[in-house]
Symmetry: C2
Subunit: 530 residues, 2 copies
Amino acid sequence: MPVSKLEYNLIHRACVGDILTRAAWRFPERVAVKDGDVSLTFKELNERANRLGDALLNLGLAHQDRVGIMSLNSWEFLVSYFACAKAGFVAVPINLGLKGPEITYCLKDAQAKALIVDAMFAQMITPVLKELEDIEHIIWYGAEQPMSDGGNIFNRLLKEGDPAEVEQVVEDRDIVQLLYTSGTTSHPKGVLTSHVAVTITSLSSALTLKLDEKDTVLAVLPLFHCAQLNAITLPALLVGATTILQKSFDAKQVSVALERERVTMTALLPMMYAALQAESTAQKRDFSSMRLAIYAMAPMPRTRIKEIQDLFPNANILLGSGQTELTPPTTFQRPHHQWVKAASWGAATPSVQIGIMDDEGNLLPRGETGEIVYRSPQAMEGYLNLPGPTEETFKHGWLHSGDVGYIDEEGVVWFTDRKKDMIKTGGENVASIEVERRLMEHPAVQEAAVVGLPHPRWGEAVTGVVILKPDQSANEEELIAFCKETLAGFKVPKRIEVVTEFPRTGTGKIRKHRLREQLKDLYTQEIPNR
Amino acid sequence: MPVSKLEYNLIHRACVGDILTRAAWRFPERVAVKDGDVSLTFKELNERANRLGDALLNLGLAHQDRVGIMSLNSWEFLVSYFACAKAGFVAVPINLGLKGPEITYCLKDAQAKALIVDAMFAQMITPVLKELEDIEHIIWYGAEQPMSDGGNIFNRLLKEGDPAEVEQVVEDRDIVQLLYTSGTTSHPKGVLTSHVAVTITSLSSALTLKLDEKDTVLAVLPLFHCAQLNAITLPALLVGATTILQKSFDAKQVSVALERERVTMTALLPMMYAALQAESTAQKRDFSSMRLAIYAMAPMPRTRIKEIQDLFPNANILLGSGQTELTPPTTFQRPHHQWVKAASWGAATPSVQIGIMDDEGNLLPRGETGEIVYRSPQAMEGYLNLPGPTEETFKHGWLHSGDVGYIDEEGVVWFTDRKKDMIKTGGENVASIEVERRLMEHPAVQEAAVVGLPHPRWGEAVTGVVILKPDQSANEEELIAFCKETLAGFKVPKRIEVVTEFPRTGTGKIRKHRLREQLKDLYTQEIPNR
């Protein structure tokens, strides 16, 4: 009898839903996830994902329809994500750090057909529902769901759905997730990521982190972000490790969880580690189970790493980096980088090829600085509805990151700056980040942004913009002198403006292009030979 | 500018050639492979693969053309395999344990356009070349190449080819390798395996074995076999580990290599470990670097494992299993299985789902015995030129292994017998392997095969066929009595034949179907109620 398309597909495909299916078949009785009082085995988590997937199919959702997910870290998030993966829908986890209008933009852009949403967001989402014309199903969950909308529809769907494996054709290059980058210069961009990309990322990250079923992983950073979702939580589920979910960062709760659950691995932001440390000096805790403390965002100085090492004496403290377009992780510091290359991004994972490219599309040799570009099966398929930016990102046959940096002799990546934030002044390149770092060292400075502004003589002039600490003062002259102490002359800001606030994105990033726009005439009165 | 098909492909694909490319970019100066006096860094190995790939394209070979490789373990084998992967050809490594006519059959069946061959096989292959009408290029390598054919063409191609990355469109589901199963009942069957299957297998095996760039792996089993190639050597190259190649098993040489190279991992057959042990008692060696001693074929008794543990005090001694159709490994024993479940196959790897199925296509619960079936992105695309057997293998939406076994509560797989060797006698199922194992315990028995033969009363009658040790004797009655001591009555052979040789395949496996054919009338004279 000929093999049907579905039969062939079920045997061969690289489907993200099968990550959970296989874990449930390998470790049915192991605890997959703990979320407050709820504890689910792999078998239970898998059956709930099957039930929801089946119920969504019964609602009439079709292959590759998009399903919004508005959820803090919760078992419902994971069930929703895997239900979509198994049934062939596209999960669209919403970044809850975005403002209301941006969330509306994402859901409209995605043409989401259904929205799975924690009732705690009812006040935020209900007013904009009428704008979201594509949404046919609102699936509330949580304790405080508006009963007018039929109560806890999520739980009802779980009851109605079949716990048997959802068996739908899902192709390797079908889309499994659509995540929006926060975008400092424009609307958020929707990143379309395939099943095979997430499958390979999960394996590659688990391999790099040496995860296995004996690990217990604390998930604090939000699952709606690619770093937590793709670099940490999916790899943990893949190997049969237990995930402990936290709704948000609370130093006390995280400390308690780390100790009580004998957590072996977590990923936090630098400021979270600082808060943990403060909490831990108040109450001595046993963190001896921790073997890996990952941090994100940017390298930490060695003094900070030393402090975290004191907190977690048995752990490596390592930076992981990545970007939504390449499904993180892209690079990880390895244990031998912790002290000697703490300021680097570490090395590429086994499934990522990293090049350094000049503006003409030529690859540069090791040690030279240029744009960081990638080839990897982890690459996004493209931006949704944005053929222009997609083509721009894929030009010269490499995925362009917009990051500038270099690779050293050992294959370690050193990030210099975002490409659009590099300043070209009098023929020299200046990384805005380097100058910002110096300004931040001044005791009066709370936050600093450095931009290049049009200048009749220098092309661009290095320009500082700072917010001072509430009880501190410093004038322009003094700050410039402070920079001159350690920076080369051409890196020293020509002017420094003191302001009280920055233009920011919904997630709090400084919109430097707005700053540049606001200050664009700062030097137009300058005489070219000044 | 629109992104070309090639540009898109280079960024996204899961191509096996990129395993080497990425390793070379990550660890250019690390030693990838040592082959006798030749030592190649990842950069050198990669450049040679690029050179050969480019040269083969220049010879006119086209996308998915098949290239035979006749080679013992050698750097030339690896260069050839990766050259094919990068250029989009299909590598056809030839099992050198096969007889001449079988090798001819494989190359003809594959319609190989080119043959890369060690000149040491000139005497074997030259006489049959005229039969291989599809072969357009014979590429000799090695010291003793027949000069009449243009000398060491392999080295000439390496000189002519471009060391820059070969950039050809290679799709995820293009075929990267065509390996022939030895087949006890028919001609060898060609197994077509895709790039994405081998990519995922390499990641999954490296993850299971916790390989990293600090490992040194001794490759003794032949690279033309999927176990060494896909489960060990590609994962080692993927993570940047060093591979030490051995042309064949020589206890002395292997011992010297293990000690001198500070080898951390190897995979051998049980009898090889026994030989190592004998060698090592003669000369005390330092094997303290060994952390993982893998073995293949079948579980070893604990007494044997204990002896190997004494040899490698710091190593886990673990069985890995798999089959060409699923790209090994399928299961691996984990460290905690070494003593308590030594007789099992261990557990599935993270990318393999294992079911147990009855003859009607129903999955059976844990603990029940049936055919072992798989779903995994590691699955073959199908058998070459054999739509019937391919459909049969993929029926009910699972890949059928032909193996019978069960899965215990912990998810560990226990192999019972090959399905076609199970005997149905008087309503009971008997695993031929269990009876063979008992017969082999008799001091006079050198080798035993147990088959089911047609019997008027029992349906099939359990029947033993044995070869005795040269200086030993034992009669049928005595052997039957010996079986009765430990086996249930229905498992005891009704008859035992003593023979001097078995019908065998090219690789030495007993052809049980021939035995059944030869002995099919053994019981036809029996009276039904005997």
